[in-house]
């Protein structure tokens, strides 16, 4: 191979170079802004990560997520192929293009446009084995990208083939970028084919070039070569120039996002650099639309996470705030996001940053003398203050550590609205001979999570302090709560030293495994509904199922584990009208009971109420089921409704 032109230049490289320089400049400026908006500790983390062995993991993650799109492959093979063929194919074209330069024109390495327009500037002199390998590789990856582009075009018309019911509607900036991207590779293919009788080519470009040569017998020779190279260069320029304002910014920011995430940086505030990288990394692929129950159950498409990130990106804070106040924070979109944008945390940060929510709280009534402490009014609490723990008067209780309860039970506000859960738990405690104290038997204060989900951290923290004092004062080793909302905050935010926080599903399984309670299996069939706060937020999936296998015939649905549905009555969605909540609950219940069962079991008082008020399926908490099936002769029968 040797060069065709001594000056190695043609005017058609100008548009490409404009785009290229622009993107590099944008990248540097954007990186500076991101680093600037990070706190010092995070900057140190970024630097430290560069020199730690974890950098290899980051490189692997970037390769797997940005180029191969492994997460999308897991969702749908065709969709995965579409994404990885374009990304990986393009990457390989760049890599092999540079290797070619090193082989055949090493003195041109300093020209950034040379690998892009290699086939125009170089010509084949003789057929060599090395050359044909490169021809084959380049054509192979070009074909790969072209097939991906063809699939992308088909996807705009028939998205169901790709496993998507809904996809995003593109605005003009995204459309411009997308059409430019669609044009780049067909134009490259045409340009290389038209030039292939000079430069040579592989099976694809030379093959098409030969057909073109045959047509050329009747036409003016080579008239199409330079215009196609021009068009290719212009398409690249348009794509690069629209890059910062289109969905394709994610090509640049996703790698940075993975790097920062692996360095241990998180979106701690609204204006944090990581948060903005996350927002720019949203590729508007629309994979979060189908899982979102606001979209599928209540026709609230404008509230989906993909629209939320768009609103934030373009400074439409009012709409973004509205979307945040509607969001159920069920985490289904976060689970589905192939990029790993934690939109739920972004929404919480936005709510927290909304100045108007920073109102004063007055929770001093909890201890003030005028209104006696709520905790002092509870019988259990009063007993503890006097040094007498409430103990179950049953046989088999060890005397060791008498005086202090083994377990402190916190039912939570929502459980007070479903008293059968509390009654069942008390019955189980007594059957197992557990020395327990019922902290909020006569009503207690809120755990603080509802305030935090409303974006009010300071208010929530005040309640955290109050509850921490009360729980630690009991001296119990285990805190059992019935409400997953409380469980989540007790586990993650409270600093309860020496106290194990358990949801009642975990605790009941412990009791069963230790043989402290025995249950019989009923003939009923049931399915388990994973509450969002217990499942996706806290990762508890196995325990409730292990219990239910012992007490009933457990059936499965497609909506289990990480794919579990939300009941629609999340405490986070303060802005969503009741009608819409009900629609979501109805939709979720219908999906879960498509194959009729006797009972739908859940582990959250809020979910229980949500499903109980619609439909005819019996809804029970896991504690109720266990309590009903207890084999415990010395206890009174389960109270009937």
């Amino acid at each position: 191979m040797h060069e065709r032109f001594a000056n190695a230049y043609d005017p058609f490289v100008i548009p490409y170079m404009i785009g290229f320089v622009f993107v590099i400049a944008y990248l540097i400026v954007a990186l500076c802004f991101v680093v600037k908006s990070l706190p010092m500790s995070d900057r140190k983390k970024m630097l430290k990560h560069l020199f730690s062995y974890k950098i290899f993991i980051t490189v692997k993650d970037i390769f797997a997520d940005c180029l191969l799109h492994v997460k999308i492959w897991k969702k749908n093979k065709l969709l995965g192929y579409m994404h990885s063929s374009i990304a990986f194919g393009w990457f390989m074209l760049i890599v092999v293009g540079h290797i070619e330069i090193f082989f055949y024109a090493p003195h041109r390495v300093n020209l950034p446009y040379y690998p892009i327009f290699f086939r125009y500037f170089m010509m084949e002199t003789e057929t060599t084995v090395g050359g044909s390998v490169f021809f084959f590789l380049m054509d192979f990856f070009l074909l790969m990208v072209l097939s991906g582009i063809a699939l992308a075009m088909i996807k705009r018309i028939r998205r169901r083939l790709f496993g998507m019911k809904r996809t995003t509607r593109l605005k003009w900036n995204d459309q411009l970028g997308m059409y430019a991207l669609w044009c780049i590779f067909p134009l490259r293919f045409l340009a290389e084919s038209f030039t292939s009788h000079i430069s040579g080519g592989g099976f694809l470009t030379r093959g098409f070039g030969m057909i073109f040569d045959w047509f050329n017998q009747f036409m003016n020779n080579d008239a199409l070569i330079r215009p196609t190279w021009w068009a290719y260069s212009i398409a690249l320029m348009v794509f690069f120039l629209t890059l910062p304002w289109s969905r394709f910014t994610h090509i640049l920011s996703e790698a940075l996002l993975i790097y920062m995430r692996n360095a241990g940086i998180r979106e701690t505030s609204k204006n944090n650099g990581y948060a903005s990288v996350e927002i720019y990394s949203c590729s508007r692929c629309g994979l979060c639309l189908d899982p979102c129950q606001m979209v599928s159950g209540a026709s609230l498409r404008q509230m989906a996470s993909v629209e939320f990130t768009r609103n934030i990106r373009w400074g439409q804070t009012t709409q973004a705030l509205e979307a945040a106040s509607y969001c159920l924070m069920c985490n289904r979109c976060v689970q589905a996001c192939p990029v790993g944008v934690n939109s739920v945390q972004l929404k919480l940060n936005l709510k927290g940053a909304d100045v108007s929510y920073r109102y004063p709280h007055r929770y001093d009534y909890v201890e003030s003398e005028a209104a006696p402490s709520p905790l002092a009014t509870t019988s259990a609490w009063a007993d503890i203050l006097q040094g007498e723990a409430v103990t179950a008067e049953t046989a088999g209780v060890s005397a060791a550590g008498a005086g202090k309860p083994e377990v402190v039970y916190f039912a939570g506000c929502m459980s007070h609205l479903t008293p059968r859960i509390e009654q069942s738990m008390v019955r189980i405690f007594e059957a197992a001979g557990v020395r327990y104290t019922f902290l909020d038997e006569d009503g207690g204060i809120c755990c603080g999570r509802p305030l935090m989900l409303a974006g009010d951290r300071t208010g929530g923290e005040q309640l955290v302090v109050k509850n921490t004092e009360a729980i630690l004062a009991t001296g119990a080793q285990i805190l059992v709560c019935s409400c997953p909302i409380c469980y989540k905050i007790f586990k993650d935010t409270y600093k309860l030293e020496g106290v194990r926080v358990l949801h009642h599903t975990e605790y009941l399984l412990q009791l069963l495994e230790a043989g402290r309670i025995t249950v019989r299996k009923s003939a009923e069939t049931g399915v388990f509904h994973d509450p969002c706060e217990l499942g996706r937020h806290s990762g508890i999936y196995r325990q409730p199922r292990d219990i239910l296998y012992r007490v009933l015939n457990l059936h499965t649905t497609p909506y289990e584990g990480k794919d579990a549905l939300c009941c629609g009555h999340s405490i986070a969605a303060e802005g969503m009208p009741y009608k819409k909540r009900r629609m979501i609950a109805k939709d979720a219940l219908r999906k879960m009971t498509e194959n009729p069962v006797d009972v739908l079991v859940t582990a959250c008082p809020s979910c229980k109420r949500a499903f109980a008020e619609i439909g005819t399926t019996r809804i029970k908490d896991i504690a109720e089921i266990v309590s009903e099936q207890l084999v415990c002769p010395h206890l009174a029968a389960q109270p009937k409704k």
Binding site: S325, S356, Y357, R358, Y359, P360, H361, R362, Y363, Y365, V366, A371, P372, P374, C413, M414, H416, L417, G443, G444, I445, C446, G448, P450, L451, A454, D456, G459, L463, H569, I571, E574, G575, M576, P577, Y578, K579, R582, S606, R609
Partner: protein, 112 residues
């Protein structure tokens, strides 16, 4: 004035021409279910904060609608937003959102 240990209650007569409806209108615009309330008091009966203080959401909603904000401003910071009232409301009023909005609007007016 001599303290007899009792006094006269201030007149409860409202002059509707002088009532400030702005808060009511603003909240109703953002949360239409505000107007669904029929003052049954279920929210107050179940309220966690109401157990220890005089927090009474039914009354506060009424006072907002009457334009008498002073008592509202004193009481509203006591709400813990636990959401029990919302669950028991027979009319599907988004009570948590209303409390947040009242708080927000009064805060904007520098009353609360």
């Amino acid at each position: 004035m001599k303290n007899f240990g009792f006094g006269l209650k201030k007149s409860g007569v409202m002059d509707l021409d002088k009532t400030d409806w702005t808060l009511l209108r603003e909240i109703a615009a953002e949360e239409p279910s505000f107007m669904n309330c029929f003052y049954c008091g279920t929210c107050t009966a179940t309220c966690s904060a109401g157990k220890y203080t005089g927090f009474n959401l039914r009354r506060l909603q009424l006072l907002v609608k009457r334009g008498q904000w002073d008592e509202v401003a004193g009481r509203i910071p006591e709400c813990m937003l636990c959401g029990k009232c919302q669950w028991v409301c027979p009319k599907g009023v988004n009570t948590r959102h209303i409390v947040m909005l009242i708080n927000k609007k009064l805060h904007a007016r520098k009353i609360c």
